[in-house]
């Protein structure tokens, strides 16, 4: 957060206090509580005051996303895993590989099964036993983007054409829901794939695929070693996304949950590393967007893709160093 933007945020709060008649600066604690009450009671005017100065309550400029971090290999029991944090929004993605019989139509291809979960841990609005509506929508969005981006070449997931192939079960769990869930979920999924190590396996006499462990078991059962050591996938056209809120003439990049609850119109743009459009999602909303607004969203996403690419590459480099 830059010094200048924090100053502006504090001056906006002072202005609100002055207008509410709280002149006495010695009662600063009470004054702050009154501003927080104003924020709860009249959220839209509170945000509009900030938007007029091209800033948001957390001192971010309108087009800036929150601090993002990615950590790879956080779950040892999974074949690939990643934890992505965008501001407070936290997503944990992990991939487990299992063996399946490939379908008749594509005997030399494996499969990817994507599932998105919002456990009650992540938000006060979710009760156990009843899956959130948002979870189903996000699951479909995530599946569509990952499959259609062509990031993973399904032929690399094949083991024995026609007989056995890998099924990659990707599970994304939301650990803290603070807005822009899709962006963090996609980032964690993509990071998990870049961390994925395919286990070394061989085939038994009875056609069953087994893992190659340190101590070799019965030699007479091992027929063919399919891959000697763990290998990684080659990923192409990695997709990254940015969600923006549209409100009057403003475009807010990477909204928090509070912002999303007040200004409902959102646009999610997914681009790959070469700048091609993978997905564009504007699910209704009270604000109708002009082409210029949509182009601005795409431009913001282009910038964001570069940032995310750097963050992911740094995380991979850190992993390799270990």
């Amino acid at each position: 957060k830059s010094f200048a933007s924090k100053e502006r945020r504090l001056s906006i709060r002072k202005n609100i206090k002055r207008q509410m008649g709280l002149q006495d600066t010695s009662k600063d604690l009470v004054g702050n509580m009154e501003v927080d009450a104003f924020r709860r009671l009249f959220p839209l005017p509170f945000f509009e005051r900030h938007l007029l100065e091209s800033i948001r309550p957390d001192a971010r400029p309108l087009g800036t996303a929150r601090d993002t971090t990615v950590a790879l290999g956080v779950v040892a029991s999974a074949d690939g895993s990643a934890l992505a944090k965008v501001g407070y929004t936290t997503m944990l993605a992990a991939i487990k590989m299992e063996v399946m019989t490939p379908s008749l139509g594509s005997p030399d291809e494996g499969g990817i099964a994507v599932d998105f979960h919002m456990p009650p841990v992540c938000s006060p609005l979710i009760k156990p036993g009843r899956p959130a509506e948002a979870a189903a929508v996000l699951c479909k969005q995530l599946t569509d983007v990952i499959i259609s981006s062509g990031m993973v070449n399904l032929k690399e997931l094949s083991l024995i054409p026609g007989k056995a192939a890998w099924m990659a079960y990707l599970d994304v769990y939301c650990l803290d829901a603070d807005g822009a869930l899709f962006d963090a979920a996609l980032l964690s999924a993509v990071s998990a794939f870049s961390h994925l190590h395919i286990p070394a396996v061989s085939v038994n006499d009875d056609g069953r695929v087994v893992a190659v462990s340190g101590e070799l078991v019965e030699d007479n059962l091992v027929k063919v070693t399919l891959n000697k050591s763990k290998r990684k996938l080659t990923l192409s056209c990695i997709p990254f996304s940015l969600t923006c809120l549209l409100y009057k003439k403003y475009i807010l990049a990477d909204p928090t949950a509070e912002e999303e609850s007040i200004m409902e119109t959102s646009v999610t743009v997914v681009l790959d590393l070469s700048g091609r459009l993978v997905s564009f999602y504007k699910p209704g909303g009270p604000v109708l967007a002009h082409t210029s607004a949509l182009q601005d969203c795409v431009a913001l996403t282009r910038q964001r893709v570069k940032e995310l690419q750097n963050i992911l590459n740094e995380a991979i480099a850190d992993m390799d160093l270990d």
Partner: protein
């Protein structure tokens, strides 16, 4: 999903052998009966795994904690006190609602977490003795735990982490609640077992206690035990609970003394 023909998910299997198969194949069951058997992670029999505890892991919750004991990773959120469900009867003391769930990738075989449905009610029983329910009448405090990775001794870690999260949320309690389990492997007693040790165990005991008050809120005993072994195991657990309680307290102290944003 790939595969145009199937709308039903294809059946898949995991290539790694299950632990029971490993036992049969390797016939290594008697190894721990060996006098100089060393634990797989090199610990002494009386040593617990190093604990990493952090509060404030989830911003959306009133209180939360993250605990990492070796490969067992748990995150707990506490919401409340908040309005009880409309269908609930009036109650002049508060209610505690607990839920423990596993991620699909928590155990080595995918989807094995649904075998632990009883953990939610066991967590409730462990905590209800320690929480001052009279301090939040008519309302409910929700405690939700998610096991991210299961490396053995899951329920004790969940209970300790939940008590830390309750403290972070400011829910009034008589004392912090800590929990440790001990496994009996032949003639050896090992504390804080990992998944592999739990699979070979002859018996197990788990104690949840309030260390400063020297009171036990929950004791679970299962398997083959002789009376002197039970006494020895109980003493081991209670000592470990005391030490764990101090670690949790220092974690809370650090969290409050850290500069506030």
């Amino acid at each position: 999903m790939a595969g145009k023909s199937s709308s039903v998910a294809p059946t898949t299997y995991s290539p790694s052998p299950t632990l029971k198969k490993q036992q049969r194949n390797n016939q290594q069951q008697p190894i721990f009966k060996d006098v100089d058997w060393v634990r797989p992670d090199g610990r002494a029999f009386q040593h617990c795994r190093p604990a990493f505890l952090r509060t404030g892991a989830v911003n959306s919750a009133s209180g939360s904690a993250y605990a990492e004991f070796g490969n067992t990773k748990v995150i707990v959120s506490v919401f409340g006190p908040r309005e009880s469900k409309k269908a609930m009867m009036f109650s002049d003391i508060g209610r505690l609602n607990c839920n423990v769930s596993y991620t699909t990738f928590a155990s080595s075989i995918r989807g094995q977490g649904s075998e632990h449905k009883e953990f939610s009610s066991m967590l409730h029983k462990a905590l209800e003795g320690a929480v001052m329910l009279e301090s939040f009448p008519k309302t409910t405090v929700d405690v939700f735990a998610l096991v991210l990775e299961s490396g053995g001794s899951d329920l004790p870690v969940v209970i300790s982490c939940a008590s830390l999260a309750l403290a972070d949320a400011g829910i009034m309690m008589f004392d912090l609640v800590t929990s440790v389990s001990v496994s009996c492997l032949g003639t050896n007693l090992v504390i804080d077992p990992i998944t592999e040790e739990e699979s070979y165990q002859d018996g197990s005991i788990m104690i949840t206690s309030m260390p400063s008050r020297n009171e036990v809120t929950q004791l679970t005993l299962s398997g083959d035990w002789s009376t002197p072994k039970i006494h020895e195991a109980m003493q081991l657990c209670l000592d470990a609970c005391l030490k764990l309680g101090e670690i949790m307290r220092s974690c809370l102290r650090e969290a409050t003394s850290a500069p506030h944003e």
